[in-house]
Structures are given as C-alpha cells and as structure tokens.
C-alpha cells in the first residue's frame, strides 16, 4: 500500500504537476517544496522525454528545456532523494514508457521504492499493455495509475476495477494544455467509476482557473493541474517559487470551499 491514500484523506486533493529539471534540478526540488507549502496533496513529477506525444506545447517545451539542461533519469531520482530529506508528501512519476524501459523495469521500480515514489502514470501504456510494468511496479509497492478518457465508454469499468492509487480522469479530448472550457460530462464518467471501485478519482487536462478546479473537484476527489504551473515556471524561471505558491494556494483554497 502506497502513501497515495493520504492525499485524499483531508477533503478534495490538489495535485500539481511539474517537469523535472526545468529550469534545473535544484529548482525542481525547491518548487516541489513550495507546492507542498501552498497546499498540494500529492506531486506529479514529469520525467522528461524527447517526444511526449500526449502533451501540448507548454509541457513539450518544458521537456525540451529540461533535456537541454542535461537531466537524466538518475538526475530525476536525485531530485526525489533531496525532496524526501524534507517531506513525505506522496509522489507520482509521470513518464513515457521508453525511458523506464531503457532504465530496466526492475531497477527503476526498485529505485522508486528506495526513494519513496508512490506511483507511476505512463500515458503510453494503456490497459491492454499494463502488464508491461505492473509486475515490477507492484513487487516494489509502486501503484500503476490508470487513465480514463472521454472516449473510454465501455472500458471505464474494466479499467476502474483494476485501478490502484487513484484514477486519472482525462477531462478533454486532445493533449495536455490550458483550456477555456471543459465540455466532457466528467461527472458521468466518475459515476460509472464509483459503481465498481472506491479508488479516488482526480480530474486533469485543461484545468487552469480556480473556478475550473473547484468545478472538477466537486465532481470527483481532486483536481490535477500541469500546464498552468509549467507555464509559470516557463515565465519566471529561477524566480518562479513565489508565483507558484500564490497560484497553488488560490487553487487549493478554491477546491476546499
């Protein structure tokens, strides 16, 4: 059992995402601690990939910036090690499968266990392929987080029944990125999930304003925000900490109302 359950114990969870190594590894450590101070309940850390096909432009660019700065998979683990000296907040990796495959599943998840990484989200490993990693991940107490999309239909309950940690409900078609409007009936998706599992549901993709975060959290157990935070980091670089704090505090306050 991972620490993920804790994130959902105190009301609605606010789950921020950032890309490891953008603008540099030390700043990522600082920003993660700032996210927690502002009220984040769980942190999603993106392991950079050269070709992030599920990401919009904002996170694509962050991946490229981080890789140009020379971040490696061991460099990301080092970030987690430094964070773990200060906090036990639940941490989940978001990573395309190839860097993990290349590291070696056994070695990767053993390292996750050693450093206290609680889960993994792999946007290019759907339900049909999840055996690729579940063996090694589960052996090391790492939850494989399932994604459910607006197009999942009959797949919703099949996926939900085997879900662990939390379920990442994708709010919209397309790739990650800020959206002015979310048109999918996410409430209905969450209802279908609830019929078969008690695993918490958090909604992500397109959420940037406190109003959106509240609306999504009201329909589920939490809101996931990535691009909006990565945008702040892109804009303020090394000086982003206080801006991240202000933004996340407002978002967390909104969903707790």
């Amino acid at each position: 059992m991972s620490k993920i359950g804790k994130a959902f114990e105190n009301g609605k969870a606010f789950i921020p995402f950032l890309t490891a190594g953008d603008p540099c590894a030390d700043k990522t450590v600082e920003f993660i601690l700032e996210l927690e101070r502002a009220g984040a309940d769980l942190i999603e850390i993106g392991i950079p990939f050269s070709d992030p096909t599920a990401e919009g432009v904002v996170i694509q660019d962050a991946n490229i910036r981080a890789l140009k700065k020379g971040i490696t998979t061991d460099g990301v683990f080092e970030i987690v090690r430094k964070v773990r000296e200060k906090t036990q907040i639940p941490i989940v990796f978001l990573t395309y499968i190839n860097p993990v495959f290349h590291y070696g599943y056994e070695a990767f998840f053993a390292k996750c266990q050693e450093l206290g990484v609680d889960g993994i989200i792999s946007p290019d490993v759907p339900f049909e392929e999840k055996e690729e990693i579940t063996g090694a991940a589960n052996a090391h107490g790492v939850d494989v987080i399932s994604l459910i999309a607006p197009t999942s239909d009959a797949r919703i309950q099949r996926i939900a029944k085997e879900a662990a940690g939390y379920i990442y409900v994708v709010s919209s078609m397309g790739v990650t990125g800020v959206r002015t409007k979310i048109t999918t009936d996410v409430g209905k998706i969450v209802e279908a999930i609830r019929q078969v599992t008690d695993v918490p549901c958090a909604i992500g993709f397109g959420i940037s304003t406190p109003e959106q975060a509240k609306a999504m959290a009201d329909k589920s157990d939490g809101a996931i925000v990535g691009s909006a935070i990565v945008k702040i980091i892109e804009k303020y670089g090394n000086d982003a900490a206080e801006h991240i704090y202000e933004y996340v505090k407002a978002m967390k306050d909104a969903i707790m109302e």
């Binding site: 190839n98 860097p99 290349h102 339900f127 459910i148 239909d153 797949r155 078609m173 397309g174």
Partner: protein, 394 residues
C-alpha cells in the same frame, strides 16, 4: 503469438483516448477485409485509378553491366502519384469512408505519403490535413504545393527535429483531439496495432504481383528481393508474399546517411536498440537514457528513428537481412540507374539499387533479384543537384 504482436515486437502503446478507436478500426478492417463489395471497389481503384498491376521490368543493361544475377525492377514508381504509397492510402481512405469518416489526416516525410493521401481524399471527397516537418517542407517544397493543389491543408511541424518523427507526433496529437469524424492514415508499417498489419496487407499487393510476374518470366522464384527501409512499408509489401519461400533472401536497405560510424544516419537495425515509441515495441535510434535520437538521411522518406515491428521480428528471426547504405552510395545509384536504364528513381529507392550493385556481380546469371523501385525521383532532382553542387534556377 499475441494479437498485434510479432514475437516481442508491436503492441498498442498509445494513449487511452485512442484505444477505443483502434479497437473499432481493427473490427471494421477485419469486417471489410472479407467484404466482396469493398474488395471489388478497392481493386477497381487500384487497377483503374492507380494503374496496377505495376510492371516487373527486366533491367537488361544493368544486368549486363553488373555481370551476375538478372535484375528486375518492380515499378511502383509508375503508380499514380509516383510511389507505392497509393496502395495503402486507397485502402485506408476507402475503409475510413465506409466507417463514416469525413476527414483524413496524415504524416509525411518526403511528401509522397502526403501527396497520396491528399489524392485519395480528393477522389473520395474527404477533407485532408497533412503534417510535415518544417525541415521537410523546405527540402520538398514542390510536394507541399502539390498537396495544396489537391485541396489538402499542410501543417509545417516546428517541434523537435522538425522531420518525420515529429510529423508523426503531431498527427497523433491531432487525432487525439478529433476522432469522431477523422481517420489517421498512417503511412508505414509502424505505430500501434492494427496499423502495422493494415498497412502491410494493403502493401502486400506488391509481392503478390511480383511473385506471379517473376514465375511467369523466369519460371522460378528470385534469389533475393531488395527494398529500402525507413518505417518499412514498401519493404514489407515487397517481402510479405515471399516470407514462406525460404530460399528467397529478403534484404532491407537502411539509410546510413554519412555512415554508421558517424552520428548522422537513420540505420535503426544497424545502430538502434530495443525500445517502445510511437505505439510499438521495436528497434529505435535512441540515446543511453531512452531519449529518441535525432536521425539523418539525404532521403526524407527514410529519415525516421524506428522500424516497423514486423521488420524487427524478421530481423530477429534471421528471415530478413538489413544492410546500411550511405548517402553517397544512394546518390551514385540514383545517377547510375538514370544513365543505365533511363529511370530516375526516388532517392529512397536508390538505396536498394545501391545495394544490388554490390551483390549482383557475385551471383549466378541463373538467379534473379527483384528491386522494389518504390518511387520516382522527380521530387529529388533539385536536392541531388544541390548535393552535387550544381546550381539550378527555375
């Protein structure tokens, strides 16, 4: 073997948003595969519109010059739109139309697949948008205009290395954004299942015809069939109906660019390693962190860091052999075929010609080799002139 797998290769490593559509696509493909009306319609398009069957041409002068095995050219360059790409595109666009789709999207490298898709879309009355790396829109500007003439919208892709892999990334992103009325006409035997199977099946017409043609002309099977490999669609089409003929050597020619000992190549089998990318487990050019490596070839159509999963399997089992061919060798072969046979072939196909120049002389005159001449070279003339330092102004 598991569905959608070729040994350990293949699979469906793709976002959840696309999964139901892929399942639906497979069901529809399997249904129409056995539907007589569909097959008749497709065959009519292939014969009456694309110009099939393509010729199997005996290259007599080349054979004499090389002094060994008889050389035959499977003339996919003579198809409408000038390459083998039309075989797959007509199949997929017709299938998409039957599925109720009104819009097709496609990636393109050299522009051949984009042109073919734009052509089929025009013919079948569908909307078409093509994603093409910015670097490729520059080096293949004529094909961009060609697609626009055919009514397609061309999006230059400025992310990443601005070449074929980035065009694939962007087309996948667009498909995730709009699925209900849109089919992604993937251009090669790559990507998530069922694409490697569908594209192979539609391209296998190449070897189906070639096998019959060579038996008629030679009374026996060829000693080898040779094709260039990027993602691997013309090679898969050329190999497929010969796989069970164990005495026929299957040879794929990869782009070695400036040489496999440099960093400027796209030789996936020679230099790549196992990985998972673009929906499939296969071999990829990548760094020690599993980041996809920038690749290079003079040929935009071979400038791709991966290879289709069935090729990876044919390589692993030893059934097919993959060899690297450099830019210089390909350009030499491009000029050689023009002078020797009066055929200006695509620089992609010239990679296969180059390899045959190396092996034919040591083979028996009793034997034959078929080269898949996957495309015509009009699109490459300007680039070859630049490569040779020749100034051309229009």
């Amino acid at each position: 073997m598991k569905k959608g797998r070729y040994g350990q290769f293949g699979g469906q490593y793709i976002s959840e948003t696309l999964m139901n559509e892929l399942i639906h696509l497979e069901e529809q493909y399997e249904f129409y595969k056995n539907d007589k009306a569909f097959n008749d319609e497709l065959q009519t398009l292939l014969n009456e519109y694309a110009g099939r069957p393509s010729l199997l041409y005996y290259a007599e002068k080349m054979t004499k010059d090389l002094g060994g095995a008889k050389i035959y050219l499977k003339r996919e360059d003579l198809n409408h739109t000038g390459s083998h790409k039309i075989n797959n595109v007509l199949g997929q666009c017709l299938l998409a139309k039957k599925m109720g789709k009104t819009r097709v999207i496609a990636e393109t490298g050299a522009g051949q697949h984009g042109v073919a898709t734009a052509t089929a879309a025009a013919l079948l009355g569908m909307e078409c948008e093509v994603f093409m790396g910015k670097e490729d829109t520059d080096r293949q500007a004529l094909n961009v205009y060609r697609m626009e003439l055919l009514g397609a919208k061309v999006h230059p892709v400025t992310s990443g290395t601005m070449t074929l892999k980035d065009a694939v990334n962007e087309t996948m992103r667009e498909w995730t954004n709009r699925i209900s009325d849109t089919h992604y006409v993937l251009g090669s035997v790559m990507g998530p299942h069922p694409f490697p199977m569908i594209v192979r099946d539609y391209q296998s017409v190449i070897s189906k015809e070639a096998r019959e043609q060579i038996l008629e002309k030679e009374g026996k099977l060829p000693a080898a069939v040779v094709a260039c490999v990027g993602g691997g669609s013309n090679a898969m089409g050329m190999f497929y109906n010969f796989i069970e003929d164990k005495d026929v050597a299957l040879i794929g020619c990869e782009a070695a660019g400036k040489g496999v000992d440099t960093e400027l190549h796209a030789a996936t089998i020679a230099k790549g390693s196992l990985g998972i990318f673009h929906g499939m487990k296969s071999y990829f050019c990548q760094d020690d962190q599993g980041q996809i490596a920038p690749v290079y070839s003079i040929s935009a159509g071979l400038d791709y860091p991966g290879i289709g999963p069935e090729h990876a399997y044919l390589h692993d089992t030893g059934r097919a052999t993959y060899v690297p061919v450099t830019d210089d060798e390909a350009v030499d072969a491009f000029e050689y075929l023009a002078r020797e046979e009066g055929i200006i072939c695509a620089i992609e196909s010239a990679h296969a010609v180059a390899h045959v120049r190396k092996i034919a002389g040591s083979m028996s005159p009793e034997d034959s080799i078929i080269i898949c001449l996957s495309g015509r070279g009009d699109k490459d003339v300007a680039a070859i002139a630049r490569y040779k330092g020749v100034q051309i102004s229009e």
